[in-house]
Symmetry: C2
Subunit: 328 residues, 2 copies
Amino acid sequence: MKKFINHVDTLLDESLRGFAKANADLVAVSFEPRFVRRKRPSPDKVAVISGGGAGHEPLHTGFVGQGMLDAACPGQIFTSPTPDQMLAAAQSVAGEAGVVFIVKNYAGDVMNFEIAAEMLDCPSETVLVQDDIALPKEHEIGRRGVAGTLIVEKIVGAAAEEGADLRSLKALGDRVAGRIASIGVALSGCNVPALGGPTFDLPPDKIEFGVGIHGEHGREIVEFASATEIVKTMVEAIDEELHPRRGQKALLHVNGLGATTSMELHLVYELAHEFWSQAGIDICRSLVGNYTTALDMAGCSITLALLDDELIRLWDAPVHTPALRWGI
Amino acid sequence: MKKFINHVDTLLDESLRGFAKANADLVAVSFEPRFVRRKRPSPDKVAVISGGGAGHEPLHTGFVGQGMLDAACPGQIFTSPTPDQMLAAAQSVAGEAGVVFIVKNYAGDVMNFEIAAEMLDCPSETVLVQDDIALPKEHEIGRRGVAGTLIVEKIVGAAAEEGADLRSLKALGDRVAGRIASIGVALSGCNVPALGGPTFDLPPDKIEFGVGIHGEHGREIVEFASATEIVKTMVEAIDEELHPRRGQKALLHVNGLGATTSMELHLVYELAHEFWSQAGIDICRSLVGNYTTALDMAGCSITLALLDDELIRLWDAPVHTPALRWGI
């Protein structure tokens, strides 16, 4: 496995050092314990904090900044961050107004954010993101959080910036998280440095439908097919979940998992847009690119988020982070 | 080769349709002939136009918008656009103030932009970008234009937005282009849809030093090595070209070629930053990410651009395009 790397054990910190320097106008990075925070914290507002294993960049560190996250805690690659990271991050940015933790639904993340919340001496709430519809709703550990997470972070972050209180932010976060569905498809596994190779192998004529962002098994391994056929299956799965009605406004997010070209992502966007437009859905907001990656996996996910006027206003609100910038 | 694709012949247009919809607030796309232009042209200023083969996205179409390009002409993948595309693009955005064409130095691009310039009934100038130092300066067809191109587009675009005239923009573009050097390294070839496979194969222990953005052969195939060693060789090659002095202000751009993770790109940035900082170079501006890709090639390039106060001001000027946004 060829990668730009010195040593598996130093990759994360060396990379974070580069990230800190490349974005020195926006963020500051702590290394012991590891977290990224806004360069200029705003302790009067509720702090919005997320985190999770590294390897999904720009999620979450790339979303720290005005209008979105106050801090983010990166674990090692595909490994939950620890409670001391979350606690230190919270202490560095939060005041009496408290903290909203936005947590992707993975056992380690959930447990560690819970421990951190208990140790924290200011009020906190947790918004759990479970947008990956690959698993059934009644799955024993629940559904995974994937590319829809950034939408929750953007919208809750915007409301926090406007001064919303902890209770409203928790309610808003839960409401948004309940209106988002995502499904991913892998054309290949991803190469994890600590493994020295791919997480899984797919035959040349197969794809993994419903793959997770760590290469977890999805719904099923299916035949490779045309983009139109693949996208149709993805859109239909989301449709069955959200049942959007004619005239429903929505955000369509096509996310690259790492090694898929911009041309392909825009093709997937075009096809998904076409399907939903024909069903009378008003795709009024868009995001296409690599935002929630699975290292160098070839593949993509489609996310649909049902919007209303309030959510559109919050999505459009100014944001100034390393990976998302507008209105400022 | 698994790709999200319907047919090789329709990929570009289907993808452009998605690009047009996802960025409908910023750009308009013409299909016969193919070009992307600002949604709201500003015919009173000099128009800045670029173009080249597709497969390098977001270059150039992603850089159309306020403060950067007025239009861009995508050819088929790795294929020059035709003079009628450039002519139609120019006619749709340019007025009496004229056109600056920013052209990467490839024979087909150069020839076709030249033909378009001759057919145009307004004044025009061409800025040739040859930032790839893989080939010697005295190479018979000259050096290739690669990731440094977007820096020329950003700076000339900003000056055009401020109302600079054609002659000044040509002089500015030539000056910037003369202060930029890039070098790329490939860990793998890229998969070209029309070929149905990779442009070249590299053994597991080799990398291509000085690779071009279409997978052209570079300086030499060398042993795979640690990130520190690879980056050191890249930085030294650029140093030998530009001879930056202590105290020199510079923009450091680390560009992903398609399939390289954000963690690795930031690691490369960190190492290059460290080398130059120790040499007393003031890395005062940064850009890290996939901006000039070679489809799904694993690899990256490092670009150094020597700045002065005027160039810093123009780099910092507001820009609002699909792929670069700040200050607006």
